[in-house]
Symmetry: D2
Subunit: 346 residues, 4 copies
């Protein structure tokens, strides 16, 4: 005899759970699956678009979470690279902790290996703006020697350890983003190599222009202190730096940064070198001509475009009609400098 | 002269950000506002429906976050009460920490006061199932004396301190939910006062029936170890216990728990005493008769209903037509015991 | 013998569906439940906050859906009142249709009764801006006599039928929102009674001020042509007018409109009479003083607030600290005129 | 002199809108952008995975929307092909309409050309189950001759016009999915070429097996009557058939259907020929070995997988650890027949 069953997913299980007399446990499918969500971005000139958050904090300085959490978050957020940049000077939980300045790196390392995340040993110098402000020392060997009285000494220690140095949130905390003398001097001397164009929720337009004028790598970083999902609204991707590397290794990442092959990405805005931006945009775009002279334009990347033809989200296609088909595309959310947005001919 | 301006929100700001030459900083509206989202539930018999998570972990035992994070999370999740229940026996971060068993309470207390969250001093005993399994000791004065060799001694310490004791996840870890002899004995002796019907992602149907048979308070708790938003899928509310209290004070909460005035809520399922469930449902329901004999039924609470008339989400209204208007409402996701769901006449 | 089952919701059903040999059909829980989502707004002076969309189109003029769809949409969107305002002059589907100007009302009426939606018979006059632009004739008896050559005749027909007349999108299509002579004349003569401050995606700031100066009722309307869910982004509530009525009847609605007791709501912005706005805000706000001089402020309505203390969404609570506790609340998204936002003392 | 401006997106615009005295109109960014969201699926054997909804209704029979709406919806949903299948026998709006059975195709055609959607001329025969039930006649030249008294005559008309015939929702309306004699006869005679495995919200497991046994093409279709976004919950993709075609032309689509190169997709479940399913899965999967013997598995398609290693959503990666690395992948939501799910070795 045939049996006919009609099921409604939720009701079926709920009533099953409630009434079945021999069920010891009902597991509900409510936990996050802890999978990694990839960020789809195109290669440029055959180089891999690795994604990095080069500025995060943990409980070892003034963050609220254990260092391993930063790796789990990076895995889930589709990042390839994390730099553990706890403050040297500010460690409010010291009354309950026993650790030196390398602890966050050491604690995070095994999880990073398990998660296949590239982990950069680092620290953050934390001074007044007039003394150089906040600088991240990346690719260091030992964070403890950075615990110096004078900022100058820390900068020279960075030189000694061959560090890559980024100037953080240059308009913080006074909302004035000026090219102040002490940082200008270190940039001129080749001791600062990059600047944050985007930090947490903030965009510093001038910093993009500084990258052009002083050969700095543009950086976007979260500077996260709480859990990352506690910081941003649901659906917002954290700021990250695209590093165009030959291979997915720390050596290759360092080479790419030395060559300033980075783009800074933040809330669907991208800042960086104009030539690289154009290549990156073109590598993301699919243009299909139609018989009537119009064309279909597809955004084949996970970064939304705001254009003269309208908004084109990740994975979306618009129709550009015949009378607009000869016009260049203005990409309002791609910034080659603080005075203009990108214009591209496909 | 009149000026006409047409603005498109996002484009306007982005291009403003990109092209304006005198802007030092553009703040993007991407951060979570850290506000509290209220959980709307009805009063029953004039009693306040306070919401509690009575089982959470922090870095002081095997959690991944600092104790203050649990308060911030509770504030944002609309909870009124948190019990800080770090394990006595399992503290994997001890190599980096210096603290006794009261630390998580002491660290969290000032934030709890600032956030107006009622904080219960507590700890979790963590033994094999055959030795009593996991028990939360709530409303204690000092967690350190619970660091005993024998579970029996800890249970007696709970008696000494006047604790309220909950039996946690009774079907864990072997998926067998049986009323084992040692816990049965303590329940009989009045030393265990409540049982988790819901824990993290799991529902233990038998536990609802035990509440009826042995005068236990039904509990729902997250047992969270990572950040709460890392644990659950977006949009899922964590398990919580409704405690029907006269006032929003710890004394009143304790009285309500002593009187077993609790309902356990989890993934839109509610378990507890049948009489209380009926009152709770009726206090949430608005019935409006129409001229043709049909009626409108509104769910005026934040807990979804799965009924014989369909799913009715929070704040939703359905039309019950004339020919069904005399039928009772079967609420498939309200459990007065493990063998049936709730039936209500409005 | 005891049986132990562990279920994961989705997997369980999918594999059940796939492998069970005696299942003829598996219904997936993927359909919208067609329930009504209520919009929670407070009463003011004991008057009901009825919600109306007074401007919608159907296939009978240049819309894309059948008139009954507008009722189903209104039900699901939590509205109480709809006016069916098909164009008199523009009916592009006439080659396939046979109908007069009352058809959309007549077709929609039985569904409106079933859904308990108040349906207003209406039509839209559709002329050049210099001839009076677009006017909605609400509460008419017969739409056919409005098929006149001159707009003046239609306006006088409205007087004859006792219609309530709204001036639609006053800055359309040229983006100039001026108080043009012909409409000014009709307003002065008492033949136009209301003006759309908000229409579809557009806000006309001057119109709010006109309401104050010329005793017009402020209106917000969708002017929808496609299906409503095709028009707006997911999560955006359509524009609607709150009509503060004594009862939920068309007579009471008309009285309220005659008395200009309306507020216009659009994308979480509210425009209208200052006194009414203040009452409405206060009726939505819950202020709870704390011992330290700070207070909790809860938004007990479904309209988000953008204030000097931050964004407070529906159902959210913020903490206003002691040093701000004496300051008035500036509500940036409540507009009593085009030159200022609301300031309230609680 | 330098000017410093700090902007918060929403507040800035709202207060600008409210207070600026020279703004005639503020356009809010709340409309859907009407772009097309692509469905990313892999090619198989160099064939294009075209996406089709072969069963939709319009106002010309018992649908609620105009035929052009079905094209706009298909564009936005990322479909390539639509068949306009209005009922021959059921046209409840005839009192208001003047049209023959080809009208929905003729009305939709210009929009289909503009949107670059392949439009199949079609109709649906609508009889009792015992008379053959519901059959879609696809790729016809003229729908009017199908208005016959006997179903047999319509089936023979399909043969005359060279139609491709699908058997719709075989378990409807009695929830019995049996291979009834009349349809069995037409299948045997080569007059029915496909069967709906999925229709609207329903899955008919036996139909998958019939495809294997009788060389039928598996079909998934929405059978939509209201606007598509009114039918399904937000976030649910409608059922669609993947047709593996050499080119994106109707001729190529027909060839592929003749060759039974289709897969039926519905609520992240995929049914079809086992060999094709395996190829399709493998073409979607990226496996990256790690040094420790574990591997990363990425789902490079827009169809979620439910596997023995957990749920892997579109664009997600999981880690398969060393001890599981030799196990085959069981894909619980891929159905090669009604008795089993897919097992793949990568």
């Amino acid at each position: 005899m045939r049996t006919t069953i009609t099921l409604i997913t939720l009701c079926a299980l709920l009533s099953l759970g409630a009434s079945a007399q021999n069920v010891d446990k009902v597991e509900n499918d409510i936990l996050d699956n802890y999978a990694r969500t990839e960020i789809n971005l195109p290669q440029v000139d055959g180089l891999l678009p690795l994604k990095a958050d080069l500025h995060v904090h943990t409980l070892l300085s003034d963050g609220a979470v254990w260092p391993t959490v930063r790796i789990d978050e990076a895995w889930r957020d589709g990042l390839d690279i994390v730099a553990m940049t706890d403050h040297i000077e500010y460690r409010p939980h010291n009354g309950y902790l026993k650790s030196d300045h390398n602890a966050s790196y050491i604690i995070a390392k095994p999880t990073a290996e398990k998660r296949d995340i590239l982990l950069i040993r680092a620290c953050e110098m934390t001074r007044a703006k007039s003394e150089g402000g906040h600088l991240n020392m990346l690719f260091i060997n030992d964070a403890n020697p950075f615990d110096t009285e004078k900022m100058e000494d820390a900068v020279n220690e960075a030189v000694r350890q061959g560090a890559f140095v980024t100037w953080n949130h240059p308009g913080w905390p006074d909302n004035i983003c000026d090219f102040n003398p002490i940082n200008a001097k270190w940039i001129k001397e080749g001791k600062i190599h990059a600047v944050e164009v985007f930090n947490e929720k903030d965009y510093y337009p001038y910093a993009t222009t500084w990258c052009n004028e002083h050969n700095l790598a543009p950086i976007a970083a979260s500077d996260v202190h709480p859990a990352i999902r506690d910081l941003y609204k649901v659906g917002v991707r954290r700021p990250f730096t695209i590093i165009f590397a030959k291979e997915r290794t720390l050596e290759s990442v360092r080479s790419a940064m030395n060559a300033r092959r980075t783009l800074a990405v933040f809330n669907n805005q991208v800042a960086g070198n104009e030539e690289l931006l154009v290549k990156f945009f073109k590598a993301s775009a699919i243009k299909e001509m139609l018989l009537n002279g119009s064309y279909k334009l597809t955004n084949n990347s996970d970064i939304e475009w705001v254009t003269n033809f309208g908004v084109i989200k990740a994975n979306q296609t618009i129709m550009v009609d015949e009378k607009n088909a000869q016009k260049p595309i203005e990409v309002y959310n791609f910034y080659p400098s603080h005075t203009k947005s990108l214009v591209v001919e496909l």
